[in-house]
Amino acid sequence: MADADADLVLQCQKGSPAAFEELVRQHQSMVHSLTFRMTGSVADAEDLAQETFLRAYAQIGTFRGNAKFSTWLYRIAVNTCLNWRASEARRFHLQANCAGEIRAQYLNGENASDENQSSQQVQAVLMKLPAKQRAAIVLTVYDGLNHAEAAQVLGCSETTVSWRVFAARRKLKRWLTAEGGAR
């Protein structure tokens, strides 16, 4: 754990909300990026980021410093996203709608720049992935965690992470190639 984080965590464990506010300040960008990539929705990402920090505060006493604070926080954020809207069917329905909506906007050229359209296309195919495969891609590709670190965050084996990344990459390549061709 970084020294700055260690001191702040210790103060939080003694009940200092000010120290926790400082931890939020330092990690808010990372958590927002993760929740956005997991949900594909700005509003949901903000809610989930807030929920992640509230859960972290409630559980701060259980953090013993065996891992980095950021790894611990990643784990809470990923679990918060995976539990997001408990009904799997409802989630699938919402994500499919969201992905369809984004893709439709992209194909209709409703948004201004090519860059924007490309971003939306990528986000749309990302949202088509099963949540656990999406989490594996977000952690390894976007956040640069190696498979061992991602396994620690996801609470599974390194082999499982490797498999999820492999399966996700195969799908993403297929979908992005298909979308590129359709365009």
């Binding site: 464990q13 926790f20 506010e21 300040r25 808010q28 860059e115 490309s118 590709v141 992005l176």
Partner: protein
């Protein structure tokens, strides 16, 4: 498309930009919510060790109590007295037997008694 190209495409997607005000206010918004929560107390070394220590301490206490309990002490004293009594009785039995067989001794005893 190879892995490198895929990663490049994925990384080209930036998360939506938020205003500086948002980043400035977000921590204090979270802090406001904290008043409804209480952080969990720091956890101590694993429960397994705690359980093992507690079990050992309890066992030691039971053994000490069993060893020095007042009833145990009285019981030991009675046992000791009982053993001594039986030893004396055995000696007396054998003495009496010899005494009964020794007529001189019996005579001596009768003389003494009179």
């Amino acid at each position: 498309m190879n892995d490198f190209e895929l990663d490049g495409k994925l990384k080209s997607v930036a998360p939506p930009k938020r205003s500086d005000d948002y980043w400035e206010n977000f921590p204090s918004q979270v802090r406001v919510q904290l008043h409804h929560l209480r952080p969990a107390a720091p956890s101590h070394p694993s429960g397994g060790w705690q359980f093992a220590w507690a079990s050992c301490a309890a066992l030691a206490l039971i053994l000490v109590c069993a060893e020095f309990h007042p009833l145990q002490t009285v019981s030991l004293a009675i046992t000791k007295q009982d053993r001594h009594f039986h030893m004396e009785l055995a000696r007396l039995d054998s003495g009496l037997h010899k005494l009964m067989l020794n007529t001189d001794g019996m005579g001596y005893l009768l003389t003494e008694a009179n």
